[in-house]
Symmetry: C2
Subunit: 295 residues, 2 copies
Protein backbone atom coordinates (compact mmCIF):
# COMPACT_ATOMS: atom_id res chain seq x y z
CA UNK A 1 0.00 0.00 0.00
CA UNK A 2 2.71 2.50 0.95
CA UNK A 3 4.78 1.62 -2.12
CA UNK A 4 1.75 2.31 -4.30
CA UNK A 5 1.00 5.49 -2.41
CA UNK A 6 4.56 6.62 -3.02
CA UNK A 7 3.91 6.18 -6.76
CA UNK A 8 6.21 3.20 -7.16
CA UNK A 9 5.07 0.67 -9.76
CA UNK A 10 4.46 -2.23 -7.43
CA UNK A 11 3.73 -5.92 -7.86
CA UNK A 12 2.93 -8.34 -5.06
CA UNK A 13 4.03 -11.78 -6.22
CA UNK A 14 3.20 -14.81 -4.12
CA UNK A 15 1.34 -18.03 -3.79
CA UNK A 16 -1.03 -17.19 -0.95
CA UNK A 17 -2.57 -13.73 -0.85
CA UNK A 18 -2.49 -12.51 2.75
CA UNK A 19 -0.13 -15.18 4.06
CA UNK A 20 -0.37 -16.65 7.54
CA UNK A 21 -2.80 -14.11 8.96
CA UNK A 22 -5.37 -15.09 6.34
CA UNK A 23 -5.45 -18.57 7.89
CA UNK A 24 -6.23 -17.31 11.41
CA UNK A 25 -9.85 -17.74 12.44
CA UNK A 26 -10.25 -14.54 14.37
CA UNK A 27 -7.77 -11.68 14.80
CA UNK A 28 -8.41 -9.68 17.96
CA UNK A 29 -5.06 -7.93 18.29
CA UNK A 30 -4.74 -5.81 15.15
CA UNK A 31 -5.17 -2.33 16.62
CA UNK A 32 -8.33 -0.76 15.25
CA UNK A 33 -10.33 -3.97 14.93
CA UNK A 34 -11.69 -5.45 18.16
CA UNK A 35 -12.35 -8.66 16.25
CA UNK A 36 -11.99 -9.49 12.57
CA UNK A 37 -11.65 -12.79 10.73
CA UNK A 38 -8.07 -13.23 9.52
CA UNK A 39 -9.20 -13.68 5.93
CA UNK A 40 -11.18 -10.45 6.09
CA UNK A 41 -8.21 -8.51 7.49
CA UNK A 42 -5.96 -9.84 4.73
CA UNK A 43 -8.60 -8.83 2.20
CA UNK A 44 -8.79 -5.30 3.59
CA UNK A 45 -5.01 -4.88 3.48
CA UNK A 46 -4.94 -6.11 -0.11
CA UNK A 47 -7.84 -3.87 -1.11
CA UNK A 48 -6.00 -0.93 0.41
CA UNK A 49 -2.89 -1.70 -1.67
CA UNK A 50 -4.95 -2.14 -4.85
CA UNK A 51 -6.51 1.25 -4.20
CA UNK A 52 -3.08 2.72 -5.01
CA UNK A 53 -2.58 0.67 -8.16
CA UNK A 54 -0.65 -2.23 -6.67
CA UNK A 55 -1.15 -5.48 -8.60
CA UNK A 56 -1.29 -8.98 -7.19
CA UNK A 57 0.21 -11.92 -9.07
CA UNK A 58 -0.82 -15.16 -7.39
CA UNK A 59 2.07 -17.36 -8.44
CA UNK A 60 4.82 -19.03 -6.50
CA UNK A 61 8.17 -17.31 -6.84
CA UNK A 62 10.75 -19.89 -7.89
CA UNK A 63 13.80 -17.68 -8.08
CA UNK A 64 15.01 -14.11 -7.68
CA UNK A 65 18.14 -13.20 -9.60
CA UNK A 66 20.16 -10.06 -9.67
CA UNK A 67 21.18 -9.06 -13.16
CA UNK A 68 23.28 -5.95 -12.85
CA UNK A 69 20.97 -3.38 -11.23
CA UNK A 70 17.76 -5.22 -12.11
CA UNK A 71 16.18 -8.01 -10.12
CA UNK A 72 14.47 -10.78 -12.07
CA UNK A 73 11.61 -12.60 -10.40
CA UNK A 74 10.78 -15.96 -11.95
CA UNK A 75 7.49 -17.65 -11.10
CA UNK A 76 5.95 -21.11 -11.24
CA UNK A 77 4.00 -20.28 -14.41
CA UNK A 78 7.23 -19.42 -16.21
CA UNK A 79 6.62 -15.66 -16.02
CA UNK A 80 9.48 -13.26 -15.46
CA UNK A 81 9.15 -9.87 -13.78
CA UNK A 82 11.80 -7.19 -13.56
CA UNK A 83 12.20 -4.80 -10.66
CA UNK A 84 14.74 -2.25 -9.46
CA UNK A 85 14.00 -3.13 -5.86
CA UNK A 86 12.62 -6.16 -4.02
CA UNK A 87 10.91 -6.39 -0.63
CA UNK A 88 11.04 -9.88 0.85
CA UNK A 89 7.98 -10.66 2.97
CA UNK A 90 7.94 -14.41 2.72
CA UNK A 91 7.13 -15.09 6.38
CA UNK A 92 7.55 -18.36 8.19
CA UNK A 93 5.86 -21.69 8.23
CA UNK A 94 5.16 -23.09 11.70
CA UNK A 95 6.92 -26.32 12.32
CA UNK A 96 3.95 -28.66 12.20
CA UNK A 97 3.15 -31.10 14.94
CA UNK A 98 3.93 -34.53 13.53
CA UNK A 99 0.86 -36.14 15.12
CA UNK A 100 -2.21 -37.75 13.65
CA UNK A 101 -5.10 -35.29 13.02
CA UNK A 102 -2.99 -32.25 13.97
CA UNK A 103 -3.51 -30.75 10.55
CA UNK A 104 -7.20 -31.59 10.50
CA UNK A 105 -7.86 -29.59 13.70
CA UNK A 106 -5.71 -26.60 12.77
CA UNK A 107 -7.61 -23.42 13.69
CA UNK A 108 -10.27 -25.54 15.41
CA UNK A 109 -8.45 -26.57 18.56
CA UNK A 110 -4.88 -26.78 17.32
CA UNK A 111 -3.14 -23.37 17.37
CA UNK A 112 0.31 -21.92 16.91
CA UNK A 113 0.09 -18.56 18.73
CA UNK A 114 -1.08 -18.11 22.33
CA UNK A 115 -1.05 -14.33 22.09
CA UNK A 116 -3.46 -14.63 19.16
CA UNK A 117 -5.76 -17.32 20.44
CA UNK A 118 -5.33 -17.77 24.22
CA UNK A 119 -8.42 -15.71 25.13
CA UNK A 120 -10.56 -18.38 23.44
CA UNK A 121 -9.62 -20.71 26.30
CA UNK A 122 -10.75 -18.80 29.36
CA UNK A 123 -11.44 -21.35 32.12
CA UNK A 124 -10.66 -24.31 29.87
CA UNK A 125 -7.94 -26.93 29.78
CA UNK A 126 -5.20 -26.68 27.19
CA UNK A 127 -1.90 -28.32 26.30
CA UNK A 128 1.26 -26.68 25.02
CA UNK A 129 3.49 -28.95 22.97
CA UNK A 130 7.15 -27.95 23.08
CA UNK A 131 10.19 -27.88 25.34
CA UNK A 132 11.85 -24.51 24.77
CA UNK A 133 11.45 -20.99 26.10
CA UNK A 134 8.87 -20.37 23.41
CA UNK A 135 6.69 -23.11 24.86
CA UNK A 136 7.24 -21.68 28.36
CA UNK A 137 6.06 -18.24 27.31
CA UNK A 138 3.06 -19.68 25.52
CA UNK A 139 2.13 -21.59 28.68
CA UNK A 140 2.50 -18.54 30.93
CA UNK A 141 0.32 -16.49 28.67
CA UNK A 142 -2.26 -19.25 28.41
CA UNK A 143 -2.32 -19.55 32.21
CA UNK A 144 -3.69 -16.00 32.33
CA UNK A 145 -6.87 -17.40 30.82
CA UNK A 146 -6.99 -21.16 31.01
CA UNK A 147 -8.02 -23.17 34.04
CA UNK A 148 -5.21 -25.66 33.43
CA UNK A 149 -2.21 -25.66 31.13
CA UNK A 150 -0.18 -28.81 30.49
CA UNK A 151 3.25 -28.46 28.94
CA UNK A 152 4.10 -31.60 27.04
CA UNK A 153 7.87 -31.97 26.65
CA UNK A 154 9.57 -34.70 24.74
CA UNK A 155 12.71 -34.72 26.86
CA UNK A 156 13.53 -34.63 30.53
CA UNK A 157 12.37 -31.09 31.18
CA UNK A 158 11.52 -27.63 30.00
CA UNK A 159 14.52 -25.71 28.68
CA UNK A 160 13.21 -22.25 29.49
CA UNK A 161 14.81 -19.04 30.74
CA UNK A 162 15.13 -19.16 34.56
CA UNK A 163 12.49 -16.54 35.39
CA UNK A 164 9.95 -18.21 33.11
CA UNK A 165 10.78 -21.60 34.50
CA UNK A 166 10.38 -20.39 38.06
CA UNK A 167 7.07 -18.74 37.30
CA UNK A 168 5.85 -21.95 35.75
CA UNK A 169 6.92 -23.95 38.78
CA UNK A 170 5.09 -21.52 41.05
CA UNK A 171 1.93 -21.41 38.97
CA UNK A 172 -0.57 -24.02 40.18
CA UNK A 173 -2.40 -23.83 36.86
CA UNK A 174 0.60 -25.09 34.92
CA UNK A 175 1.82 -28.66 34.95
CA UNK A 176 4.82 -30.01 33.06
CA UNK A 177 4.61 -33.54 31.71
CA UNK A 178 8.01 -34.82 30.60
CA UNK A 179 9.14 -37.61 28.29
CA UNK A 180 5.97 -37.22 26.31
CA UNK A 181 5.38 -37.63 22.63
CA UNK A 182 2.03 -36.48 21.29
CA UNK A 183 0.98 -39.00 18.68
CA UNK A 184 -2.64 -38.06 17.99
CA UNK A 185 -5.13 -35.25 18.46
CA UNK A 186 -8.45 -36.64 19.65
CA UNK A 187 -11.94 -35.31 19.00
CA UNK A 188 -14.92 -35.25 16.70
CA UNK A 189 -15.92 -31.75 15.59
CA UNK A 190 -13.74 -30.11 18.23
CA UNK A 191 -10.61 -31.21 20.06
CA UNK A 192 -11.32 -33.28 23.17
CA UNK A 193 -7.80 -34.43 24.07
CA UNK A 194 -4.46 -35.80 22.99
CA UNK A 195 -3.03 -39.26 22.86
CA UNK A 196 0.53 -39.35 24.20
CA UNK A 197 3.26 -41.93 24.32
CA UNK A 198 5.08 -41.97 27.68
CA UNK A 199 7.78 -44.50 28.50
CA UNK A 200 6.39 -47.06 26.13
CA UNK A 201 2.74 -46.67 27.19
CA UNK A 202 -0.11 -44.71 25.64
CA UNK A 203 -1.98 -42.17 27.77
CA UNK A 204 -4.89 -39.87 27.09
CA UNK A 205 -5.06 -36.29 28.32
CA UNK A 206 -8.30 -34.27 28.24
CA UNK A 207 -7.83 -30.79 26.76
CA UNK A 208 -9.90 -28.54 24.50
CA UNK A 209 -6.95 -26.78 22.93
CA UNK A 210 -3.46 -27.72 21.80
CA UNK A 211 -0.86 -24.99 21.28
CA UNK A 212 2.10 -26.13 19.23
CA UNK A 213 5.35 -24.32 20.05
CA UNK A 214 8.05 -26.33 18.38
CA UNK A 215 9.39 -23.42 16.36
CA UNK A 216 8.85 -21.72 13.04
CA UNK A 217 10.76 -22.11 9.83
CA UNK A 218 11.61 -18.84 8.07
CA UNK A 219 10.94 -19.00 4.37
CA UNK A 220 14.29 -17.57 3.42
CA UNK A 221 15.42 -19.97 0.70
CA UNK A 222 14.83 -17.42 -2.09
CA UNK A 223 16.65 -14.75 -0.10
CA UNK A 224 19.61 -16.99 0.56
CA UNK A 225 19.97 -17.98 -3.08
CA UNK A 226 19.88 -14.30 -4.05
CA UNK A 227 22.81 -13.62 -1.70
CA UNK A 228 20.89 -12.02 1.17
CA UNK A 229 22.41 -12.52 4.63
CA UNK A 230 20.48 -14.80 6.96
CA UNK A 231 21.33 -15.67 10.58
CA UNK A 232 21.86 -19.10 12.12
CA UNK A 233 18.08 -19.54 12.44
CA UNK A 234 17.62 -18.85 8.75
CA UNK A 235 16.08 -15.41 9.41
CA UNK A 236 16.86 -12.51 7.09
CA UNK A 237 19.04 -9.92 8.84
CA UNK A 238 17.71 -6.36 8.54
CA UNK A 239 18.46 -3.00 10.12
CA UNK A 240 15.92 -0.55 11.58
CA UNK A 241 15.21 0.73 8.04
CA UNK A 242 14.37 -2.80 6.85
CA UNK A 243 17.49 -2.93 4.66
CA UNK A 244 19.29 -6.22 4.00
CA UNK A 245 22.96 -6.55 3.10
CA UNK A 246 22.08 -6.23 -0.62
CA UNK A 247 21.42 -2.72 -1.93
CA UNK A 248 17.86 -2.55 -3.25
CA UNK A 249 16.68 -5.59 -1.29
CA UNK A 250 14.55 -4.97 1.79
CA UNK A 251 12.72 -7.38 4.08
CA UNK A 252 9.79 -7.21 6.48
CA UNK A 253 7.74 -9.41 8.75
CA UNK A 254 8.26 -12.84 10.22
CA UNK A 255 11.03 -13.85 7.81
CA UNK A 256 13.26 -11.23 9.45
CA UNK A 257 15.28 -11.56 12.66
CA UNK A 258 14.67 -9.92 16.00
CA UNK A 259 11.08 -8.80 15.82
CA UNK A 260 8.15 -9.61 18.06
CA UNK A 261 6.05 -11.74 15.71
CA UNK A 262 2.69 -10.05 15.47
CA UNK A 263 0.69 -8.93 12.44
CA UNK A 264 0.79 -5.26 13.41
CA UNK A 265 4.59 -5.34 13.78
CA UNK A 266 4.99 -6.98 10.37
CA UNK A 267 2.69 -4.42 8.78
CA UNK A 268 4.76 -1.59 10.25
CA UNK A 269 7.95 -3.25 9.01
CA UNK A 270 6.38 -3.49 5.55
CA UNK A 271 5.64 0.22 5.65
CA UNK A 272 9.24 0.93 6.67
CA UNK A 273 10.52 -1.33 3.86
CA UNK A 274 8.33 0.44 1.28
CA UNK A 275 9.54 3.83 2.42
CA UNK A 276 13.16 2.66 2.36
CA UNK A 277 12.64 1.27 -1.16
CA UNK A 278 11.24 4.66 -2.19
CA UNK A 279 14.25 6.43 -0.75
CA UNK A 280 16.58 3.94 -2.42
CA UNK A 281 14.91 4.27 -5.82
CA UNK A 282 15.03 8.06 -5.69
CA UNK A 283 18.63 8.25 -4.47
CA UNK A 284 21.68 9.35 -6.36
CA UNK A 285 23.20 5.91 -5.89
CA UNK A 286 20.66 4.02 -7.98
CA UNK A 287 20.74 6.52 -10.78
CA UNK A 288 24.48 6.54 -11.12
CA UNK A 289 25.00 2.83 -10.53
CA UNK A 290 26.51 1.15 -13.58
CA UNK A 291 27.05 -2.46 -14.42
CA UNK A 292 30.49 -4.02 -14.50
CA UNK A 293 32.29 -3.09 -17.65
CA UNK A 294 29.93 -0.25 -18.54
CA UNK A 295 31.30 3.25 -18.67
Amino acid sequence: MYAGRLNLRTLIVGEEAGGLIATTTLVENYPGFVSIPGGKLAERLLEHAKHYGVELIEERVEEIRQNCNVFEVLTSSGSRYEAKSVILATGTVHRKLPAKNAEKFEGRGVYYCALCDAPLFRDRKVAVVGGGDGAAKEALLLAEYAEKVYILCRDEGLHAEPPNLRKIEENPRIEIINHTNVVEILGEERVSGVLMQRQGREERLEVEGVFVAIGGIPRSELARRLGVEVNEKGEVVTDKQARTNLAGVFAAGDVTAGGFRQAIISVAEGVTAAYSAYRYLTSEYVETRRCNGEP
Copy 2:
Protein backbone atom coordinates in the same frame (compact mmCIF):
# COMPACT_ATOMS: atom_id res chain seq x y z
CA MET B 1 -4.70 -2.53 24.00
CA TYR B 2 -1.85 -5.06 24.12
CA ALA B 3 -1.09 -4.21 27.76
CA GLY B 4 -4.72 -4.86 28.62
CA ARG B 5 -4.72 -8.04 26.57
CA LEU B 6 -1.66 -9.19 28.50
CA ASN B 7 -3.68 -8.75 31.71
CA LEU B 8 -1.67 -5.79 32.96
CA ARG B 9 -3.69 -3.25 34.93
CA THR B 10 -3.35 -0.35 32.55
CA LEU B 11 -4.18 3.36 32.69
CA ILE B 12 -3.85 5.78 29.78
CA VAL B 13 -3.24 9.19 31.28
CA GLY B 14 -3.18 12.24 29.02
CA GLU B 15 -4.77 15.45 28.02
CA GLU B 16 -5.89 14.65 24.48
CA ALA B 17 -7.30 11.19 23.81
CA GLY B 18 -5.87 9.97 20.51
CA GLY B 19 -3.18 12.62 20.20
CA LEU B 20 -2.09 14.09 16.89
CA ILE B 21 -3.84 11.55 14.66
CA ALA B 22 -7.19 12.58 16.11
CA THR B 23 -6.65 16.05 14.65
CA THR B 24 -6.05 14.78 11.09
CA THR B 25 -9.02 15.25 8.77
CA LEU B 26 -8.66 12.03 6.83
CA VAL B 27 -6.24 9.16 7.37
CA GLU B 28 -5.65 7.15 4.20
CA ASN B 29 -2.45 5.38 5.18
CA TYR B 30 -3.34 3.25 8.18
CA PRO B 31 -3.21 -0.23 6.66
CA GLY B 32 -6.66 -1.77 6.73
CA PHE B 33 -8.61 1.46 6.28
CA VAL B 34 -8.65 2.93 2.78
CA SER B 35 -9.96 6.15 4.29
CA ILE B 36 -11.01 7.00 7.84
CA PRO B 37 -11.38 10.30 9.68
CA GLY B 38 -8.50 10.71 12.15
CA GLY B 39 -10.90 11.18 15.04
CA LYS B 40 -12.69 7.96 14.14
CA LEU B 41 -9.43 5.99 13.98
CA ALA B 42 -8.37 7.31 17.38
CA GLU B 43 -11.79 6.33 18.73
CA ARG B 44 -11.47 2.80 17.36
CA LEU B 45 -8.02 2.35 18.90
CA LEU B 46 -9.30 3.57 22.24
CA GLU B 47 -12.36 1.38 22.07
CA HIS B 48 -10.10 -1.58 21.35
CA ALA B 49 -8.01 -0.82 24.45
CA LYS B 50 -11.11 -0.36 26.62
CA HIS B 51 -12.33 -3.74 25.42
CA TYR B 52 -9.47 -5.23 27.47
CA GLY B 53 -10.18 -3.19 30.58
CA VAL B 54 -7.80 -0.30 29.93
CA GLU B 55 -8.96 2.94 31.52
CA LEU B 56 -8.55 6.45 30.16
CA ILE B 57 -7.85 9.38 32.48
CA GLU B 58 -8.14 12.63 30.54
CA GLU B 59 -5.83 14.79 32.58
CA ARG B 60 -2.54 16.47 31.83
CA VAL B 61 0.42 14.69 33.41
CA GLU B 62 2.42 17.27 35.35
CA GLU B 63 5.16 15.04 36.67
CA ILE B 64 6.40 11.46 36.75
CA ARG B 65 8.58 10.53 39.72
CA GLN B 66 10.40 7.37 40.54
CA ASN B 67 10.04 6.38 44.15
CA CYS B 68 12.10 3.25 44.64
CA ASN B 69 10.50 0.70 42.30
CA VAL B 70 7.23 2.57 41.90
CA PHE B 71 6.54 5.37 39.46
CA GLU B 72 4.22 8.15 40.63
CA VAL B 73 2.22 9.98 37.98
CA LEU B 74 0.90 13.34 39.12
CA THR B 75 -1.81 15.05 37.09
CA SER B 76 -3.26 18.54 36.65
CA SER B 77 -6.26 17.73 38.85
CA GLY B 78 -3.95 16.84 41.72
CA SER B 79 -4.48 13.10 41.33
CA ARG B 80 -1.64 10.67 41.89
CA TYR B 81 -1.34 7.27 40.20
CA GLU B 82 1.19 4.58 41.01
CA ALA B 83 2.63 2.18 38.46
CA LYS B 84 5.40 -0.38 38.30
CA SER B 85 6.07 0.48 34.69
CA VAL B 86 5.51 3.52 32.47
CA ILE B 87 5.22 3.75 28.68
CA LEU B 88 5.91 7.24 27.37
CA ALA B 89 3.88 8.05 24.24
CA THR B 90 3.76 11.80 24.47
CA GLY B 91 4.40 12.48 20.77
CA THR B 92 5.49 15.73 19.26
CA VAL B 93 3.99 19.07 18.60
CA HIS B 94 4.66 20.47 15.13
CA ARG B 95 6.56 23.66 15.22
CA LYS B 96 3.79 26.03 14.24
CA LEU B 97 4.11 28.48 11.40
CA PRO B 98 4.33 31.91 13.03
CA ALA B 99 2.11 33.53 10.40
CA LYS B 100 -1.29 35.18 10.64
CA ASN B 101 -4.21 32.76 10.10
CA ALA B 102 -1.94 29.71 10.00
CA GLU B 103 -3.73 28.20 12.95
CA LYS B 104 -7.16 29.09 11.60
CA PHE B 105 -6.57 27.10 8.39
CA GLU B 106 -4.97 24.08 10.04
CA GLY B 107 -6.42 20.92 8.45
CA ARG B 108 -8.22 23.08 5.85
CA GLY B 109 -5.31 24.12 3.64
CA VAL B 110 -2.47 24.24 6.14
CA TYR B 111 -0.88 20.82 6.75
CA TYR B 112 2.13 19.34 8.47
CA CYS B 113 2.58 15.98 6.67
CA ALA B 114 2.85 15.54 2.89
CA LEU B 115 2.75 11.76 3.12
CA CYS B 116 -0.57 12.08 4.90
CA ASP B 117 -2.19 14.81 2.86
CA ALA B 118 -0.37 15.26 -0.47
CA PRO B 119 -2.94 13.23 -2.49
CA LEU B 120 -5.50 15.95 -1.72
CA PHE B 121 -3.52 18.28 -4.00
CA ARG B 122 -3.43 16.38 -7.27
CA ASP B 123 -2.99 18.95 -10.08
CA ARG B 124 -3.09 21.88 -7.67
CA LYS B 125 -0.57 24.47 -6.55
CA VAL B 126 0.97 24.17 -3.10
CA ALA B 127 3.70 25.78 -1.02
CA VAL B 128 6.12 24.08 1.35
CA VAL B 129 7.43 26.33 4.10
CA GLY B 130 10.86 25.32 5.38
CA GLY B 131 14.52 25.21 4.44
CA GLY B 132 15.82 21.82 5.55
CA ASP B 133 15.92 18.31 4.15
CA GLY B 134 12.50 17.70 5.66
CA ALA B 135 11.04 20.47 3.52
CA ALA B 136 12.86 19.06 0.46
CA LYS B 137 11.36 15.62 0.97
CA GLU B 138 7.92 17.07 1.51
CA ALA B 139 8.25 19.01 -1.75
CA LEU B 140 9.43 15.95 -3.72
CA LEU B 141 6.54 13.91 -2.47
CA LEU B 142 4.06 16.71 -3.18
CA ALA B 143 5.44 17.02 -6.73
CA GLU B 144 4.20 13.48 -7.39
CA TYR B 145 0.69 14.92 -7.17
CA ALA B 146 0.68 18.71 -7.38
CA GLU B 147 0.92 20.75 -10.56
CA LYS B 148 3.30 23.18 -8.90
CA VAL B 149 5.21 23.14 -5.63
CA TYR B 150 6.88 26.27 -4.23
CA ILE B 151 9.46 25.85 -1.51
CA LEU B 152 9.56 28.99 0.59
CA CYS B 153 12.93 29.32 2.37
CA ARG B 154 13.80 32.03 4.81
CA ASP B 155 17.52 31.99 4.04
CA GLU B 156 19.69 31.90 0.94
CA GLY B 157 18.81 28.39 -0.13
CA LEU B 158 17.52 24.96 0.62
CA HIS B 159 19.79 22.99 2.97
CA ALA B 160 18.85 19.56 1.68
CA GLU B 161 20.77 16.35 1.10
CA PRO B 162 22.53 16.47 -2.31
CA PRO B 163 20.35 13.88 -4.10
CA ASN B 164 17.17 15.56 -2.95
CA LEU B 165 18.48 18.95 -3.89
CA ARG B 166 19.45 17.77 -7.36
CA LYS B 167 16.07 16.13 -7.90
CA ILE B 168 14.38 19.36 -6.91
CA GLU B 169 16.53 21.36 -9.29
CA GLU B 170 15.68 18.95 -12.11
CA ASN B 171 11.96 18.87 -11.37
CA PRO B 172 10.12 21.51 -13.40
CA ARG B 173 7.18 21.36 -11.02
CA ILE B 174 9.23 22.54 -8.07
CA GLU B 175 10.42 26.11 -7.62
CA ILE B 176 12.50 27.41 -4.72
CA ILE B 177 11.83 30.94 -3.54
CA ASN B 178 14.58 32.17 -1.21
CA HIS B 179 14.79 34.94 1.38
CA THR B 180 11.10 34.58 2.01
CA ASN B 181 9.15 35.01 5.19
CA VAL B 182 5.53 33.88 5.15
CA VAL B 183 3.60 36.42 7.19
CA GLU B 184 -0.02 35.52 6.46
CA ILE B 185 -2.19 32.72 5.06
CA LEU B 186 -4.78 34.18 2.70
CA GLY B 187 -8.28 32.88 1.97
CA GLU B 188 -11.92 32.86 2.98
CA GLU B 189 -13.29 29.37 3.60
CA ARG B 190 -10.27 27.69 2.00
CA VAL B 191 -6.69 28.77 1.50
CA SER B 192 -6.14 30.84 -1.65
CA GLY B 193 -2.54 31.95 -1.13
CA VAL B 194 0.16 33.27 1.13
CA LEU B 195 1.47 36.72 1.82
CA MET B 196 5.28 36.78 1.94
CA GLN B 197 7.88 39.33 2.88
CA ARG B 198 10.85 39.33 0.46
CA GLN B 199 13.68 41.80 0.75
CA GLY B 200 11.52 44.40 2.41
CA ARG B 201 8.57 44.07 0.04
CA GLU B 202 5.30 42.16 0.39
CA GLU B 203 4.35 39.63 -2.29
CA ARG B 204 1.35 37.36 -2.78
CA LEU B 205 1.63 33.79 -4.02
CA GLU B 206 -1.41 31.81 -5.18
CA VAL B 207 -1.59 28.33 -3.67
CA GLU B 208 -4.37 26.09 -2.37
CA GLY B 209 -2.27 24.29 0.18
CA VAL B 210 0.55 25.18 2.54
CA PHE B 211 2.73 22.42 4.01
CA VAL B 212 4.71 23.53 7.02
CA ALA B 213 8.01 21.69 7.48
CA ILE B 214 9.91 23.67 10.04
CA GLY B 215 10.36 20.75 12.41
CA GLY B 216 8.59 19.07 15.28
CA ILE B 217 9.13 19.45 18.95
CA PRO B 218 9.23 16.18 20.91
CA ARG B 219 7.20 16.36 24.08
CA SER B 220 9.94 14.91 26.23
CA GLU B 221 9.98 17.31 29.16
CA LEU B 222 8.37 14.78 31.53
CA ALA B 223 10.79 12.08 30.35
CA ARG B 224 13.79 14.30 30.86
CA ARG B 225 12.77 15.30 34.37
CA LEU B 226 12.29 11.62 35.22
CA GLY B 227 15.88 10.90 34.16
CA VAL B 228 15.17 9.30 30.79
CA GLU B 229 17.88 9.78 28.17
CA VAL B 230 16.98 12.08 25.28
CA ASN B 231 19.14 12.94 22.25
CA GLU B 232 20.23 16.38 21.04
CA LYS B 233 16.87 16.83 19.32
CA GLY B 234 15.05 16.14 22.57
CA GLU B 235 13.85 12.72 21.34
CA VAL B 236 13.67 9.82 23.79
CA VAL B 237 16.32 7.22 22.99
CA THR B 238 14.95 3.66 22.75
CA ASP B 239 16.21 0.30 21.57
CA LYS B 240 14.39 -2.13 19.25
CA GLN B 241 12.39 -3.41 22.26
CA ALA B 242 11.19 0.13 23.06
CA ARG B 243 13.27 0.24 26.25
CA THR B 244 14.70 3.51 27.56
CA ASN B 245 17.77 3.83 29.79
CA LEU B 246 15.55 3.52 32.89
CA ALA B 247 14.42 0.01 33.85
CA GLY B 248 10.63 -0.13 33.73
CA VAL B 249 10.28 2.92 31.47
CA PHE B 250 9.47 2.30 27.80
CA ALA B 251 8.66 4.72 25.00
CA ALA B 252 6.85 4.57 21.68
CA GLY B 253 5.82 6.79 18.81
CA ASP B 254 6.89 10.22 17.64
CA VAL B 255 8.54 11.20 20.92
CA THR B 256 11.21 8.57 20.23
CA ALA B 257 14.29 8.87 18.04
CA GLY B 258 14.97 7.23 14.72
CA GLY B 259 11.58 6.14 13.52
CA PHE B 260 9.72 6.99 10.34
CA ARG B 261 6.91 9.11 11.74
CA GLN B 262 3.69 7.45 10.68
CA ALA B 263 0.69 6.35 12.73
CA ILE B 264 1.14 2.67 11.88
CA ILE B 265 4.79 2.73 12.98
CA SER B 266 3.87 4.37 16.27
CA VAL B 267 1.13 1.83 16.88
CA ALA B 268 3.59 -1.01 16.30
CA GLU B 269 6.09 0.62 18.66
CA GLY B 270 3.32 0.90 21.25
CA VAL B 271 2.65 -2.81 20.88
CA THR B 272 6.35 -3.55 21.30
CA ALA B 273 6.51 -1.31 24.39
CA ALA B 274 3.49 -3.04 25.95
CA TYR B 275 5.01 -6.44 25.33
CA SER B 276 8.35 -5.30 26.76
CA ALA B 277 6.55 -3.92 29.83
CA TYR B 278 4.85 -7.29 30.24
CA ARG B 279 8.18 -9.09 30.06
CA TYR B 280 9.70 -6.60 32.49
CA LEU B 281 6.87 -6.92 35.00
CA THR B 282 7.01 -10.70 34.92
CA SER B 283 10.81 -10.93 35.14
CA GLU B 284 12.94 -12.03 38.01
CA TYR B 285 14.52 -8.59 38.15
CA VAL B 286 11.39 -6.70 39.15
CA GLU B 287 10.40 -9.20 41.77
CA THR B 288 13.74 -9.25 43.46
CA ARG B 289 14.47 -5.55 43.12
CA ARG B 290 14.73 -3.88 46.50
CA CYS B 291 14.94 -0.26 47.48
CA ASN B 292 18.12 1.25 48.84
CA GLY B 293 18.60 0.28 52.42
CA GLU B 294 16.06 -2.51 52.35
CA PRO B 295 17.28 -6.03 52.92
